[in-house]
Structure formats: structure tokens, C-alpha cells
């Protein structure tokens, strides 16, 4: 078995799976259950100033379901902890004593003035926590009070608060970033410049789930009124992966360790985050949908995967980062064509109709009077749409043309790479 023992910022945990700061980590009771189930660490539900905030007593969550009622996307309007600070601190101290091998991180959200940070952080650190995570991410509620995403959207604030935190804390400081920005790099850079030891991302995305089709109000509501919440769950994973990869591949930010968050439901999702540059991962929604037991598959699946690939966890981390680049560097001489395996084809015709209606008219529906779906190479641009919509996995695959002439363009296949930076149609092209 591969060794999943992880050290992140010098904090060791038996596996790279931490519970994210969220309802599952609100109390000792939950965290105990999580650690009993096998979770490697927990980021405690975000602490704030006393007196504690209050939460609504109506719906805090809602979901987008598949027809089988599988939760695809999830939304919440819960705020930070609504329990007295001392209650949380007492429980955190006890948990750290009871579970010394697990990572315990304190998430904090405080008003933007240095004395407050200087006051609270030592109190929290005194519980024995391994690190701080600064919550600059929650897009709802607290952001109206100038905290959470309101800080995370202004790089200068991130840097300022990171500096205050580093001054007040002796344990490592992780900055949790909000995805509600157009470019994740300036916030990440600000965290680095403020002295943060790592970043974690993503927090949730601003969202309204839907309307109620009877009342024609937004859904859900509290006494007839609703507010935007934070969107998460497997639907947000691609957004998170891009932001993680951007930080991991950009020269100015790539030195930052990353704790990956966003829609991790099974071990493959974890592989995505780790390979794209995260050093560990945090999970919330999947646990809220299925309970803590999912850790079994996360650990076991990742273990088996690493064994099959004969990789260590460290070797997996960042493995896919070099494959991420800008569009302008993609090889425009590279040509693929779709190929339909007629043995596997069930003749649903979806590839034909989507290609016909929305793309390049490159798939037949009839050949010699028979229902048959074949790729027309002289029209196929290799777009992968048919592969994406085909209900039979492996039935349609993309094959590279390595020689001869591309029947679509009439151009000879060139073994040389050529990208947009030097393309003749690019008015800004570089001359060789």
C-alpha cells in the first residue's frame, strides 16, 4: 500500500483528506465522529468575535439534483460559528489532545483592524491547533459586514490581514481564497506577499439556486425572502481545478503550497486536485451529502491508484501541472479525427444530430441506405463533441493523424509544432 501520510506546512496527518471549515466541523461531537471514521484532519468551523453571530432558523441549504436525486450542486447561507468562542476553544483543545496525530486547523474571520487580530489569534492558538486558516472566502452574509469574500476580493486587504495574522500567530497561516473574482492570481500573490504560508481554495461561489415554480419567489426563502448563498459540490470542481492550476503554474505564485477544495466526492477528484498542484485536499459537501464514511473510498481509492501507477503521493502532487498552458501555445499543426467503433455503437444517433445541428456536419446517419453513423474525415475538426455526448464509453475515440494530408484542410500533416504566436493569421505574431 502507498503511504498516504502527509505533511502540509510541517503539519502531519495520516492522509491528505481534511474536512473543510464548514458545518461538519462545527462541534467536537462531529469532529470526533470524523476522526473515528478516519479523516486526516479538520479545519474547525470559522471562529469570529464574541458575541457570536446568529444563523437563520429556516432553510440554510438547497441542492441541484439529478433525476435520481443525486446531489450535483449545493448551496448554503449558513454563517460562521454561532456558538460562544470559549465553547469552541475548549472543544478544540480537547480534540487536539484526544487526536494528536490528526491535523487541526482553526479557521478565523475577524473585522479588518489589527488589534482584533492581535487579541484573538493568540487565544485561539493556545488551544494547540496546528495552523490558522483565514476565511476570506464566504460570499454571503459576512461579506455584507466587510469580512469573508469582501476581503478576498481586494488583494490589498488580503495582504494586510495576512501580515497581521503572521505577526500574531506562531503556527502556519493559510489564506482561504474566494473564487468570486475574475482572476485568482492577484489574491494569491497578495497572500504570498503578506507572508501567508499557503493558500486554500476555493470557497463557495455566489449563487441563487432557482425559483419556486408555485410562488415564483426565489428558492429557498426565509419567510418569503431569500438571499444569494455559496455554491459548492461536484458542479464547482472544474472552476476550482482551474484556479488551483493557475496558481500552481504561474511563476509568481507557484511557490505557495495549496490545499485544494471544491467538489471532491471520490478519490478521482482528489487525484485531479493533487495532480494539478494541490498538496492536500479539503472536503465538505460530499460529507454533508453522504456522511463521514466516504473517507473509506477516498483513502482506499487513492491508495490503490497510487499502487497501480507505482507513484508516491509526493510524485503525484503537481504531476499534471506542466501539461497546463495558455491557448496560444497549443500546437496548431496537431490533427485528430473522431473514429466510431461500429461494434460498440448502439445507433442512438446522438453524435450525428449534435454534429449536424451544432457543429460541423461531420457524421453520417445513413450509409448505403442503412442506419449507420460514420465520421466524415473531410468535415471533422476533431472537436470531441461526439465523444462527449456518446452514451457508450469508449465507442468514439479521437485518433491523431500522423502523416499524409488532412482531408478537411487539404494540408500536409507536419511533424513540427506551430502555435498561434507565430501563425500567419496572427497580426501580433512573433517573427522567427
Amino acid at each position: 500500500m502507498a503511504d498516504l501520510k502527509t505533511t502540509f506546512l510541517g503539519i502531519s496527518s495520516p492522509n491528505p483528506f481534511w474536512l473543510a471549515s464548514a458545518p461538519p466541523t462545527d462541534k467536537a461531537y462531529n469532529v470526533n465522529r470524523a476522526f473515528e471514521a478516519g479523516w486526516g484532519g479538520a479545519v474547525w468551523k470559522t471562529l469570529g468575535e464574541d458575541p457570536p453571530i446568529v444563523n437563520v432558523s429556516g432553510p440554510r441549504y438547497s441542492a441541484i439534483h439529478s433525476n435520481e436525486r443525486r446531489v450535483i450542486g449545493f448551496n448554503n447561507i449558513e454563517l460562521i460559528t454561532d456558538r460562544p468562542l470559549q465553547t469552541n476553544l475548549d472543544e478544540m483543545r480537547q480534540i487536539k489532545q484526544d487526536w494528536p496525530d490528526r491535523a487541526l486547523v482553526a479557521s478565523v474571520m475577524l473585522p479588518m483592524n489589527e488589534p482584533t487580530w492581535a487579541k484573538y489569534l493568540p487565544m485561539v492558538e493556545e488551544t494547540g491547533i496546528d495552523a490558522f486558516e483565514l476565511n476570506f472566502g464566504c460570499p454571503h452574509g459576512m461579506s455584507e459586514r466587510g469580512m469573508g469574500a469582501a476581503v478576498g476580493q481586494v488583494p490589498e486587504y488580503i495582504q494586510m490581514a495576512a501580515e497581521w495574522a503572521k505577526k500574531a500567530a506562531s503556527v502556519p497561516v493559510i489564506v482561504k481564497l474566494t473564487p468570486n473574482v475574475t482572476n485568482i492570481l492577484p489574491p494569491a500573490k497578495a497572500a504570498l506577499d503578506g507572508g501567508a504560508d499557503a493558500v486554500s481554495l476555493i470557497n463557495t461561489i455566489n449563487s441563487i439556486m432557482r425559483v419556486d415554480y408555485d410562488s415564483l419567489t426565489m428558492y429557498p426563502t426565509t419567510d418569503g425572502m431569500g438571499t444569494h448563498g455559496g455554491y459548492c459540490g461536484e458542479a464547482v470542481k472544474p472552476i476550482a481545478l482551474n484556479m488551483v492550476a493557475e496558481i500552481a503554474r504561474t511563476k509568481e505564485t507557484r511557490s505557495l503550497p495549496i490545499s485544494g477544495i471544491g467538489g471532491i466526492s471520490d478519490w478521482r477528484d482528489a487525484v485531479d486536485f493533487l495532480a494539478l498542484g494541490a498538496s492536500n485536499v479539503q472536503v465538505c459537501t460530499a460529507a454533508m451529502v453522504y456522511g463521514f464514511k466516504i473517507i473509506d473510498d477516498l483513502v482506499d481509492g487513492l491508495n490503490n491508484f497510487l499502487d497501480d501507477k507505482q507513484l508516491t503521493l509526493d510524485e503525484l502532487i503537481g504531476k499534471a501541472v506542466p501539461s497546463v498552458t495558455d491557448w496560444q501555445y497549443l500546437n496548431l499543426n496537431y490533427v485528430e479525427k473522431a473514429v466510431i467503433d461500429q461494434e460498440l455503437c448502439i445507433q442512438c444517433g446522438r453524435c450525428h444530430v449534435v454534429c449536424e445541428d451544432t457543429s460541423h456536419q461531420a457524421i453520417t446517419h445513413t450509409v448505403n441506405g442503412e442506419r449507420r453513423f460514420e465520421v466524415i474525415d473531410s468535415e471533422c475538426v476533431g472537436c470531441n463533441l461526439c465523444v462527449s455526448v456518446c452514451p457508450v464509453e469508449g465507442c468514439i475515440s479521437m485518433h491523431q493523424l500522423t502523416e499524409g494530408i488532412d482531408p478537411r484542410t487539404g494540408e500536409t500533416i507536419s511533424p513540427e509544432k506551430a502555435d498561434w504566436t507565430t501563425h500567419r493569421n496572427n497580426p501580433m505574431r512573433k517573427t522567427k
Binding site: 436525486r69 460498440l344 445507433q347 446522438r350
Partner: protein, 451 residues
Amino acid sequence: MSKNKQQADIRSHRLDKDQIARNFGDLHPPLSRSEALIAADRCYFCFDAPCTTACPTGIDIPGFIQKIRSDNIRGSAHTILGENIMGGMCARVCPTEVLCEDACVRNTHEEKPVEIGLLQRYATDPVFDQGTPLFSRAAATGKKVAVVGAGPAGLSCAHRLAMLGHDVVVLNRDDKPGGLNEYGIAAYKTVDDFAQKEVEYILSIGGIELRKGETLGKDFTLQDLRDSYDAVFIGIGLGSTNTLGLDHETLPGVDSAIEYIAEIRQSDDLGKLPVGRRVVVIGGGMTAIDIALQSKRLGAELVDIVYRRGPEQMGASRYEQDLAQTNGVTIHHWAKPVELLGDDHVTTIRFERTALDSNGRLTSHGDGFELTADTVFKAIGQILDVGVLGKDAAGLEIRHDRIVVNEAGRTTLPDVWAGGDCVAGGDDLTVTAVQQGKVAAIDIDRRLRGE
């Protein structure tokens, strides 16, 4: 002939009330919303969908399933009923396993098609429960059309004609409309008086006058109708039952399956129906299965179906055959009845083994077997009683005892159309009858508008 002297054991109340109720409950209970959503999700929304091609009425099946997925149930029902006004009954009785569900592309790798029949029922049930109006009539044309027979073909034709603005008079022999939907389908396939509910819905469009107790050839002639109406549609089904051609066929205990199925359907206390202890059914179609299974479910102890050819040639689908067998019915293939025995009641029926000769013709071996029987049901098909057509039959081409029509349902008489089981080239399915009625109505409309 006096070989067996045993008393015929035929009696009612073989099973208690609760058991009867269970036996005659819905064969396929309807889908719940969550079941329907999951079933609908399995549809791949095929291009030029093979299921639609396989449907005699050409329902846009992926289209109606897509609407189920989005909770647009009324829209889904409209998609179905717009092509097949008896989509509710067809959802219950269509042999989907040889039509749409057989064509489903899911069969290729999973051998488990989308449950199209059950989904169709899910989409249409609310329409009949609530009487949701989905169709309206075009401006009145002032034309009047007579429809003979209120079975699937006649009612489908009448409904479409009414939609197109014509006035329709439906002349029906039976007390109740619906034809074989009302009288000829196994009770557990259409519970809760669904056939009448469906007819009520069809008539609710308006412009259709239904007259009962009107028998062609007795109460009126085809010529009467041709004289008084702008067009005539014949959908009279098949009136007479085929005979075995054996001696003693009139012996008590040798009965018509169709008639007994009708009795079961019309009974308000199934326990009261007398049923034999030993029942032998002759035939291989859906009617043979229906009578065998219903006899069994009424409490018959031993039920045998004997068919003169093999399982592949049976008119009943494989699914229906399996259903009979899992319900304890024994099916004997390759045997034909040669003698009925009994003095004042049938007691035994003797069979000879059959086979196909080198020319593909059915021959008998000589050797055979006997089955003891309290009741022998003939389920060997029906024939058109050409006599009811009267002297007008002279102008009507009849082939193999069925009325000849073209693809638009026209007979060889210029103002007479026909459809359903009484026409040649059909497959004796409700869904085909509905399609023929619809197609004829569209052609009648064209003709009446002088197009």
C-alpha cells in the same frame, strides 16, 4: 366417445375474495414520480429514434420522455395522445416488447430497454383521471360522417374527424363502447374501468354522437349510411370465431375464449364466475394467453395451452408466453386437436403431434396425447362476418375474409373507408387499429374538403 365418464368439475368461488382481488389487480402497477424520473433518465433521446419508427402510431417517444423528465406531464400527454388518442390503453396493452421497447438502443449492451409503456402510462394517466382537455375542434365543416363500430379504429377515426371539424355519428353493436378494449382484453391489464374512462375522454371533445345497439346488417345497412352521410368508416372488427372443424364441437364445455374474456371483463363479482378445474386452451395468440392466465387466476388448477406450431410462431410475444408459464400455465407446442371426447360434456381432448415438412407445411405425425378437460377454450382467431356488409359488399373487395383498403384506409367504394381488425394487412393490435382510424380520418377530411 364414451371413454370418459367423469363429471365435469366447473364451479365458481374456487378462490377467496382477497385472492381474486390480488389476481386481478394491475399487472404492471403505475410508476411513481421518482420511478418515472429515473426511468425517463435512461432515455438517450435518440436521433430519428428507432422506438418511434417501431411504433405503429409514430409517437415521438424521446420527445414525450424528455417532457416527463422536466415535469411537463401535460405536454408529454399531448405528444402521445396527439398521435394516438388511445395512448392510455396502448400503454397498458401494447406488446411493447416487440415494438418500441424491442427497438430501444439500450438493448444492445444492457438488454434492458427504457420502460416506454410504463412511462407512457405515467404521462397519460393524469389526463384521464382529471379529464384534462388537450384537443379542440376546428371550425365546423358541416359534413357528417358515419363510423360503424366503437372499437379502437372507430373511436380513433371519430376523434380525429371531430378535431378536424366534422360531425360524427358512431353506430355501435354493443351496449358499451370500446370494442375489444372493453370486451376483449385481460382484466388485469386494464383495471378500474379504464376502457370506459378513455372512451369518455375521447367523446368529451364534442361533435361525436354515440348510438348503441346498432348492428350493421340488422338495424341498418351500409347503403343506408352511404345515402345519409358524406362518408362512412367501417371499424367493425371480426364478428365470428373460427372453428376447430372437429366433431362434437358444440359439446358443452367447448367454449369461445373471446366470449369468456368478455364475461370476465363485464363481471362485477369475479368470484361468481364458474371455471373448470382442468382448462385446455387451443391457440397461440394473445387471446390464448389471456384466457389461460385468467382461468388460472380464477382458480383453475391445471391450465394447458396447446399450439400447433413452435414458440417463435406464436402470436403471443415471448414476454406473454413467459408470463403464462410463470403463472403456472403449461404450453405444449407442435400439437393439434383431433378429437373431442365426452358424452354430455367435454371430458377429454386428443392431440396429434405436428411438424413442418420439407416444404414448410404443417403435417401431423400420427402419435399424440390426451388431456383431460373440464373446459376447452378455442382461441384460434376470428373472422369477418362478410354477411353484415349486405349487398354493398359487392363493391367492396374482400381478400382472405378481410376488407381490402389502401394505405389511406380507402376501400374500393369511393365514400367508404375501413380500419382495424376487419381490414386486410393488419396485425390485430389495438395500436394498429388506432393508427388506421387516424389515417382514414385524415384522408376522409381531405376528400371532404375537396383536396
